[in-house]
Structures are given as structure tokens and as C-alpha cells.
Subunit: 306 residues, 2 copies
């Protein structure tokens, strides 16, 4: 069952207390695909410039990512440069050069249009809507966004919410969108605007899945060393959606597992710069981390409690 | 098996966005005892002034709290006044009047000295050490502290760490004490100084239990309304220690349950001003919340994952 992601493909330059990278493979669609492909084939729609290294695309193809939807256009690739604080909890964007990404108009190749599972990475909500016009009745559509669109294109974003199943955003975005600082009320507000579920990413504090009836929480994995938080949210989304696509099971029990697969991928992503760790990780290692999440949070009630 | 708490008994005046209280029953030992007493009898050692309302002490006695260790001294009771921010995530202390608490010297009554379980609330670490001199070989000693003592009495505090089983502090205190911003490394540092376990309270992000081999995480309960965060950490400690005292079981599986009982008590505490909610709550309601925590975090592996 096809899994499609539409989003940015970038050259990232990142400075952390542990080192720096220049023009490394990055972007939301890339982190999503690198993480998801460990579990299930991923189809990517995006754009790169004439300067985009062929080796980067080969790295994705080597993971079984289908790049038939990646257009190469004349001009510069999307470049993003940022510096993280000493504790990695905040970052400063030093430079954003959109290049060919400024005029990105997603065109979904014929063979991708029947994808059952669709992830709309963080792009202009008008473009996200245009993707939904091109795909044929997918089973599950999840969507990311950012503060920029919440402020500048709120009406289009609200229209988009009526057509998606899961809004997958970070906590500050959920707060800004809903106007409510309580994250559980913010999630309820999101559900009231259309999506069946809200997934709220909370960085070092994990992630929440909220639907009409229940709330499920996965804490972050206890890492003593984090090297580069870039792309953790998109790696999470890739793990989540690929687990659902692989199993084809939309039960809440399985969506809980998807949350844990997403969290496992997010935690692996931050253990090295860029996609380095995701590029190498094998399925048994991912499964071992999923079991480690169980050990982290599970407890047994005693007889009295039941 | 006796459960002893030594700590402050106060008159709290608290302003939140939802209202305010004046001279309400408060203090670390009080929140601990009110929460713990739902599960197991609690013995309190503390001091009150001549102005301390008899009705407040009766409220504790009505919960089965043993007040034989509460001295009444001539002078003013300990008063604390604070205002919380609109989102309750920060607070400003408006006034601290130590009164008779300034000269508090814990005297453990004869009948409390065989307590198997001891909680040293946040007081001068020299006084915490003096309590350990007075009790007879307890099974489990847990201890709180605060930034003030970490800065002013670091050496005494480090000496104290050699004599306790669990250090139970919030994340900023763990960071300050260890000098490490990574909370998992900070916990390891604490273990290296003596305690067998570190419990790190993370406020709206839950709590961690770390020992030499494992890490256990309980997220915070998803509350859409929080009225007053005062005392949540001490209510947590009360629930944790009282569960251990009630069961007498120090296995890691049972300490995980203790973490959940603590979290349940902390989440109940913040649902009303001061001790109002803890004062009323019955055991079945606490057990229901413990089960709700299980529903919040548990997930089943599928066949492939095992």
C-alpha cells in the first residue's frame, strides 16, 4: 500500500556544540523518507536545484525510496543554515535560501496517485490542498504545518484541516493555532476543526496522540547524548506513517504502536548529524528500540488495583 | 510499617488565574501527609506557631495523620505567599515569613523512631542529617532539597546523599546539583554520590525513576484544567512513599507502581486549591487514576516486534 510524502528536500548546514555540517542531505521529505523506508517503501514528491549532489539522491534510492516525483529544476537548491544552543533546546536560523523551492508546485506522478497513505510535509497549505486534489481517495492523510502558515494563511489552513485525518504538529504550533496554552484543550480544538486525530510532538518530552475518546502519550527516549535534533519531527512522522502503511491497520491499538515506531525513529535520528543514523539503521535495531520504549513506560498493576 | 515525614507546615496564600487563598493549610509535610494518608498512616514531625488554626490540625487528624511530632511554639507560623503566571508554569514568591520554622529542630518522638520509611522534606540538610541520627535503621529513606541548600550547603548535602536511598528532586535542582543539563546524566551523577535511586520530578512533563540499571518514566496526567500547582511534588512523594509503606515491597516493579501512585496524587493535588482535593479523595478514585495512567501509556507489541 503506497506511502507518499510531499515536502522539502534541502541542503542543511547545522552547527551544534558537537560539530557542524555543510550542505548535508536534509529537508522534511528526506527525513521522513529515510526513517519510513526502514519499514515500508516511500514515494517522494519534491524539487531540487541543478546543484543538488547526485550522491544525496543515490543515498535515498539505496534505501529503496522512490524518487520518481523529485523534479530537478534549473537554479539553486533549498538551503537552510542553523545554530543550536549548548543544550540543543533552542536554535537560531542563520540563513534560509529557498532557491527552486520558492516556486515548488507539487506534481504527483500518475503511479503515486493511488497512494493509500499520504503525508503532507510543512509547505504552503494551498500546495498541501493541491496534493489532495491529485491523489485518489487515500485511506489516511496526515499533515504538518508551521507558525509561518498559521499566521499568514490561517484561512487556507483551516480549510485544509477539514480534509485531513491527522494534524501532526509540535506543541508551540498547536498552541498558536488553537489560541490555547493547555495542550490537551489545544488538541480538542484541533479535533473540532476536522481531523480525527491530533499528534502533538513535544521534542525532548515526547509525543501525544489524541482522538475523540482517548489520549496516548509516548515520552522521549532517555538519551544521554543528543548530537543534532534536526529532522526529528519528520523522522517521527516517517516512522509513524510507515508503520501504518506496512500493517494497513488503523485500529487505535496499532496507531499507538505507530506512535512508538515514530518515537523510535525520532530518537535514532538525533543520535547523529542529519540523516547519518537513519541511513544506516536496520529493522532489528528499530524493533529493539520499540521494546526499550515498552520497558521505559510499562508497569504492572497489582491485584488490588485491577 | 511506620511512615515518617519531617518538613514544613505552613499557612499558604496563593494567587492563581482562577482565584486566591489566604492562610490555607500548606507546607511540604502537609501535602505529603494528606496524599500519603489515603494509602497508609503517616507520622508527621514539624512545628507550628501559636496562631496556627486548630481546624487545620484537625483536618490532618481526620485523615488519620499522627501529629504526635508536631510541636506548637510561641510565635508566628511559617507563612508563604506566591502568585502563579497565567499558564501556571512559573510563580513569583511574594512573601516568606519563616516565623517559628526558622528555629525548627526536628525532635522525633520515641514512638516514631522505628519508622521503616522516612521522607525528609525540603529543610536544611543539617536538620535532615539530624533526623537520620534519631531514627533506627529505616528500610528506605527518601529526601527532597532545593536550590537554596544546593548553593549554600553543598558539602552537607553531599554528605547527606551518602546516607539516603532516594533523592527526590525536580529537574532544575538535579541539573544544578550535578552541573549537567542532560537530565539522564544528572541522574547518573546523583547515583554516583550515594543514593540507590533518583526520582526526578518534571512538573507538567511527569517524573523519572532512575537506578543503576533502568529508567522508568511516568508522564503527567493529561489535565485540561489545573487550578493550583502548589504542593504537587510533595503530594507525589506522599503517594510514592505511602504505596511502598503499604506494600512493604521494594522490588523495582513495585517502585514503578509507587511512581504511578505518586503521579496520581500529584495530578489530584493540582485539581483544586491547596489540599482541598487530597483532603476529600477516596482510595477507589486514586486507583481509578492509576488505571488511567496505564491507559495513557501502555501499548501492545505486535507479534513481529516481540
Amino acid at each position: 500500500m503506497g506511502l507518499l510524502v510531499v515536502g522539502s528536500i534541502a541542503l542543511d548546514s547545522v552547527i551544534t556544540p558537537f560539530g557542524e555540517t555543510a550542505d548535508a542531505l536534509g529537508g522534511a521529505a528526506v527525513f521522513f523518507a529515510m526513517a519510513g523506508a526502514v519499514l515500508h517503501p516511500v514515494q517522494v514528491v519534491g524539487v531540487v536545484g541543478s546543484d543538488f549532489p547526485e550522491a544525496h539522491l543515490k543515498a535515498l534510492a539505496a534505501r529503496g525510496v522512490d524518487l520518481a516525483g523529485v523534479e530537478r529544476q534549473t537554479g539553486e537548491s533549498f538551503r537552510w543554515k542553523a545554530r543550536y544552543s549548548y543544550d540543543l533546546n533552542s536554535r537560531e536560523t542563520l540563513e534560509t535560501r529557498l532557491g527552486v523551492f520558492a516556486d515548488f508546485r507539487p506534481r504527483i506522478p500518475e503511479q503515486f496517485r493511488k497512494a493509500r497513505f499520504v503525508f503532507l510535509g510543512n509547505i504552503d497549505p494551498e500546495l498541501q490542498l493541491s496534493v489532495l486534489d491529485q491523489v485518489q481517495d487515500p485511506t489516511l492523510v496526515a499533515c504538518d504545518t508551521m507558525n509561518y502558515w498559521i499566521q499568514l494563511k490561517r484561512d487556507v489552513l483551516l480549510e485544509l484541516l477539514r480534509h485531513i485525518d491527522i494534524l501532526m504538529v509540535n506543541d508551540s504550533e498547536a498552541r498558536e493555532l488553537s489560541g490555547d496554552w493547555n495542550i490537551y484543550r489545544a488538541a480538542r480544538w484541533i479535533l473540532s476543526r476536522g481531523p480525527k486525530m491530533a499528534v502533538i510532538k513535544q521534542g525532548e518530552h515526547g509525543a501525544l496522540l489524541v482522538d475523540a475518546d482517548t489520549t496516548f502519550k509516548v515520552p522521549a527516549y532517555p538519551l544521554q547524548e543528543v548530537f543534532d535534533p534536526t529532522g526529528a519531527g519528520d523522522a517521527f512522522a516517517g516512522g509513524f506513517m510507515a508503520h501504518v502503511a506496512r500493517t494497513g491497520d488503523l485500529s487505535f491499538a496499532n496507531l499507538r504502536r505507530a506512535m512508538v515506531y515514530g518515537s523510535a525513529m525520532g530518537s535514532l535520528a538525533v543520535e547523529a548529524f542529519g540523516v547519518q543514523r537513519l541511513e544506516q539503521v536496520a529493522l532489528p535495531e528499530v524493533r529493539a528500540r520499540v521494546r526499550a520504549f515498552r520497558d521505559l513506560v510499562h508497569f504492572a498493576l497489582d491485584g488490588e488495583d485491577e
